[in-house]
């Protein structure tokens, strides 16, 4: 059907909201609680109000469904008045705080406040105006309900910045089904948070931080540790970054989503003062070697089927905390990040004759829970913490801006080759289905002994939540599944428990579409942005000279010179890990 917006006609479908039609056609509409991945919208921020010919007053366009003959007006005097006053009301608790805020310059509320010329101190007195006693009570009262949560390694929460948009509640409940957050209290004390203000004890996937429009939930900022290490003359700072990061890093510097900025990222890290820059993608190839070997072993012995991938730390935590009975099914292979960290402090350190104590190993990740992963007590294969610091893409960008380093003006640089060569299979790790495809490319050749004609496995690509297939490799019939988002993972686990689903190998990613939708990625990340990033990943795989993990010469060298073969004792010691039952235990 057609509706009219500001006297122009637009096509739309039956269940569309007016907001969706506006966004599709580039009509300006401020929103704070709406998010393209979190539908239906709740209509709580009242920013998207419009006037229509069907209702007397203002209605929220995010909840108003289209209908035949509907006429909408988006820029009337009343609407602008409403936006201005409501922004001033929301802004009252934020006025004057931007300079010290983590999200300065990247905050949705701040952006709207600037756009609508919000004065700021309309409803609150400025600090210097606070003289009377009862006003100090006001400040005291406000602080008494502020909840600060720094007790976990991954996420920071500061409720003074919360505008109660409820996006985090929705994403944690509907997409991840973990339900850490809810809306608590009433009246002006209403706050989004955990029950009894307990410290967060979830899977740290960071989706809440990813959707938060302000600084209420953010990644823990650990860039100071990076800075300290860089200026320490005793430390050799080695940095690695994940496959998906090179496709989104540019967005922090105004590039369109999916821009391939690998060279720029290496250059930025070098400009910051990193001594060596390695590619996590190499370790992804290594992971495939180990995991394919493990898969073949398990299917031969029919042990602990299905095997689950284990490179996603949020998925591992989900199993450990909520479904510990599936721990035996997890692959014992570490994640690429941890494998590279372990090798850097053993294999590479030995080669370069550097004492591992003097290596400070950093990784730049799309992920918040990698911070937790690097701190796990099992991740000390080298005798030291394999990865000393994990920073998210957002933190890196913040640091670069602080140091006034703009990648736009840097010449592209290459990885250090010792641990910097990768294949298309490794690159695929960045998106859901990638680990599976990479594993199949290697497993297929290893099992059949024949070279693969076609390396793409299209049936497991795409954005559906639960993709499964039966792959025939020689005599072997592999029943595989690819799952992303914890709600789908939970469904899969329940189906397996009920005997409704039988698989041999399952890839699980906690974040929507895998790491390219990770909790540490640049904001905004939504289905449109993720699609662009995925396309870039697939294009890169297609364009790489090597597209199968076992063809990686650096990987072959590591086995030849150091590890022996996949599954060897040394490989087990450095590249494999153990898990723990964490159900109902306070960490």
């Amino acid at each position: 059907m057609q509706i009219k917006i500001n006297d122009k006609s637009y096509d739309c479908n039956e269940n569309d909201t007016v907001l969706a039609v506006c966004k599709k056609n580039g009509i300006q509409m401020p929103t704070l609680c709406a998010h393209p991945d979190l539908l239906p919208s709740e209509g709580v921020c009242r920013m998207c109000l419009v006037e229509t010919n069907q209702a007397k007053g203002l209605v929220s366009s995010c909840t108003q469904k289209v209908s035949q003959g509907l006429e909408v007006f988006t820029e009337t005097q009343n609407i602008n008045k409403a936006r201005k006053i409501n922004l001033e009301l929301l802004w009252a608790d934020h006025a004057g705080k931007c300079a010290q805020c983590k999200k300065n310059g990247r905050c949705e509320l701040q952006k709207l406040a600037e756009e609508y010329n919000v004065e700021g101190f309309k409803f609150v007195p400025r600090r210097k105006e606070l003289k009377k006693e009862n006003e100090l009570d006001l400040v005291k009262d406000n602080w008494s309900h502020t909840v600060l949560d720094e007790k976990n390694p991954c996420l920071s929460r500061d409720s003074q910045y919360c505008i109660e948009c409820r996006r985090c509640v929705k994403v944690c409940k509907e997409i991840q089904t973990v339900e850490s957050y809810a809306v608590n209290n009433r009246s002006s004390r209403t706050n989004v948070g955990t029950p009894f203000n307990q410290p967060l004890d979830c899977i740290f996937c960071g989706q809440c931080a990813l959707v938060c429009p302000t600084a209420a939930i953010t990644e823990k900022d650990e860039t100071d540790k990076f800075e300290t290490a860089i200026v320490d003359p005793r430390k050799m700072v080695v940095v690695q970054f994940a496959p998906s990061v090179r496709f989104s890093f540019g967005e922090e510097f105004d590039q369109p989503p999916g821009t391939f900025w690998e060279g720029k990222l290496v250059a930025s890290l070098k400009a910051l003062g990193a001594d060596k820059v390695f590619d996590t993608t190499l370790a992804a190839d290594l992971t495939i070697m180990e995991e394919a070997n493990e898969l073949i072993e398990r299917t031969k012995n029919k042990k602990n089927e299905p095997m689950f991938t284990s490179c996603c730390p949020s998925w591992v935590l989900f199993i450990e905390k909520y479904y510990p009975e599936f721990i035996p099914n997890l692959s014992t292979s570490k994640s690429p990040q941890q494998m590279l960290g372990a090798l850097a402090k053993t294999y590479w350190a030995q080669k370069e004759k550097i004492h591992p104590e003097n290596i400070f190993s950093v990784s730049v990740m799309p992920c918040t829970s990698k911070k937790y992963e690097s701190q796990r007590e099992e991740m000390r294969a080298s005798g030291h913490r394999d990865v000393d610091l994990v920073i998210t893409v957002r933190e890196l960008a913040r640091l670069l801006r602080k140091k006034k380093i703009n990648p736009l003006y840097l010449e592209e640089e290459k990885f250090d080759p010792a641990l910097g060569i990768s294949t298309g299979a490794g690159i695929l790790f960045g998106q859901s289905g990638g680990v599976m495809e990479a594993a199949l490319r290697t497993a297929a050749e290893k099992i059949s002994g024949k070279k693969l004609e076609k390396v793409e496995f299209e049936m497991i690509r795409g954005e559906a939540e639960y993709r499964c297939a039966e792959i025939e490799i020689g005599d072997l019939k592999l029943r595989i599944a690819v799952v992303h988002e914890i709600r789908n993972a939970r469904k899969l686990l329940e189906d397996i428990k009920l005997g409704k689903a039988k698989f041999d190998f399952v890839e699980v990613m906690a974040c929507p579409n895998g790491c390219i939708g990770g909790g540490g990625m640049p904001q905004p990340t939504n289905k449109f942005v993720r699609k662009a990033r995925i396309e870039a990943v697939l294009a890169r795989d297609k364009g790489m000279p090597l597209r199968k993990s076992h063809e990686n010469p650096a990987v072959q060298k590591i086995y030849k010179e150091f590890l022996g073969e996949p599954g060897s004792e040394k490989a087990e010691e450095l590249l494999h890990t153990k898990y723990k039952n964490r159900k109902n235990k306070k960490d």
């Binding site: 409501n86 009301l89 309309k122 009246s187 002006s188």
Partner: protein, 409 residues
């Protein structure tokens, strides 16, 4: 004119027989034996009965929508949450004549095809909840509630559901959320409860006073009822008089009566207390408009009124009253009761309350005048549910009528 309060002096709330002796449950018998649901609805529609909680929507039309919506389960809910300040009429019906409410509920449930009914009662009304429970048990013993009512195939179960202290739960969709074990936050409308209500099923939410009118309408007929009161909203209303009137309390009067009569007629308010001079009257509780002396002669109905009658409570304020105390009372109430879901109400009521506190200590700021206007405007026009509008009504009138008074030191 006594429809609701008829024979209350002859009825013992804890004795069902005393109710039956006053023609109690006759209407229910008539309905179960001689009428089908559709006929009941036609009767209620033509009576012109409108909701007595304040919204004034046609009860019959609501019932019709619920009856027409196909579903495997339907619910009938009597709203006795009654949290509007100055209102205690529903509580009084429950403690004086609980069976009047129960009979109305049973007839309503039958009309729409509901097998389960709730009485959502204010959490503070513990005594009244007990009275209702005893009444339900006594009715059950006489096969008037539960399975096989009066030997028929009709089952209607009634349960008393106690609230836990939240004014917003008087709003029908917030009430539904409350029963579902959630926060009492209002829902988006549409869908409306008669189409999708409790647990997504067709649900009727009627005010207790509305429900209490049902037995009379069935017994005496819609035509007779429609001739009482005013043409646009027939019947009588329980008005609650408080403040500076001589006779404080509950009076029953036909709709269409004026505030002038209610306040000054010796049958009702009996005029102002000795030595007190009339300043204004607030009609409809804390969310009601302020009526000056010159406007008291407007008929109070549920039609289009300049001064809507709302819940029917009338607070008479005399010239000795401190307007700033009242402003603080109104602002504090709506701030406390705001559910916190939408930004303008959550933040607006808070800022208005801050201003009210400062006004009380004569601490005026230059920005106050504009801020008050802006907050009242946004509360009135941009909130998720009507509570925002309610919060702006009394202040809106006060600021227009008593600006100098408020801002003088």
């Amino acid at each position: 004119m006594q429809i609701l309060t008829r024979n209350w002096d002859k009825i013992d709330p804890l004795n069902i027989d005393s109710y039956i002796r006053q023609r109690g449950y006759e209407a229910l018998q008539k309905v179960i034996r001689n009428m089908d649901g559709a006929e009941v609805i036609v009767e209620i529609k033509s009576s012109g009965l409108r909701g007595r909680g304040g919204a004034g929507f046609s009860t019959g039309e609501k019932w019709e929508t619920a009856a027409k919506t196909a579903a495997d389960e339907k619910y009938f809910i009597c709203n006795l949450d009654e949290s509007e300040p100055g209102t205690y009429k529903d509580r009084t019906i429950a403690e004086k004549n609980p069976h009047q409410i129960l009979e109305g509920i049973l007839i309503g449930a039958y009309a729409i095809g509901a097998k389960k009914a709730y009485v959502y009662i204010n959490g503070n009304y513990k005594k009244q909840a007990e009275i209702l429970r005893i009444a339900i048990d006594q009715a059950r013993e006489k096969e008037l509630v539960g399975r096989g009512i009066l030997g028929s195939a009709i089952d209607v179960e009634i349960e008393v559901f106690e609230g836990a202290g939240a004014y917003i739960c008087g709003e029908e969709t917030a009430l539904l959320n409350s029963i579902e074990g959630k926060r009492g936050e209002p829902r988006l409308k549409p869908p409306f409860p008669p189409v999708s209500g409790l647990f997504g099923k067709p649900t009727i939410v009627n005010n207790a006073e509305t429900v209490a009118n049902i037995p009379y309408i069935i017994r005496q007929g819609a035509k007779k009822y429609s001739q009482i009161g005013s043409a646009v909203s027939p019947g009588t209303k329980l008005f609650v008089l408080s403040g500076a009137v001589k006779n404080k309390g509950i009076v029953e009067a036909p709709l269409g009566i004026t505030a002038q009569e209610l306040i000054y007629n010796s049958l009702y308010g009996g005029g102002l207390e000795m030595g007190k001079e009339f300043w204004f009257a607030q009609i409809g509780g804390a969310s009601g408009r302020l009526v000056p002396a010159g406007k008291l002669d407007q008929p109070l109905t549920y039609g289009n009124c300049e001064y809507p009658l709302g819940s029917g409570s009338i607070l008479v304020v005399d010239k000795n009253a401190n307007i700033k105390d009242l402003l603080l009372s109104w602002a504090g109430f709506f701030h406390r009761e705001s559910c916190g879901k939408c930004a303008p109400c959550r933040e607006g009521t808070y800022r208005l309350w801050e201003i009210a506190k400062r006004l009380k200590s004569n601490d005026f700021r230059e920005k106050d005048r504009e801020n008050i206007e802006d907050i009242l405007w946004t509360l009135s026009n941009t909130t998720f549910c009507p509570l925002g509008k309610f919060a702006s009504v009394a202040w809106g009138d006060a600021v227009k009528m008593f600006w100098d008074e408020i801002f003088k030191a």
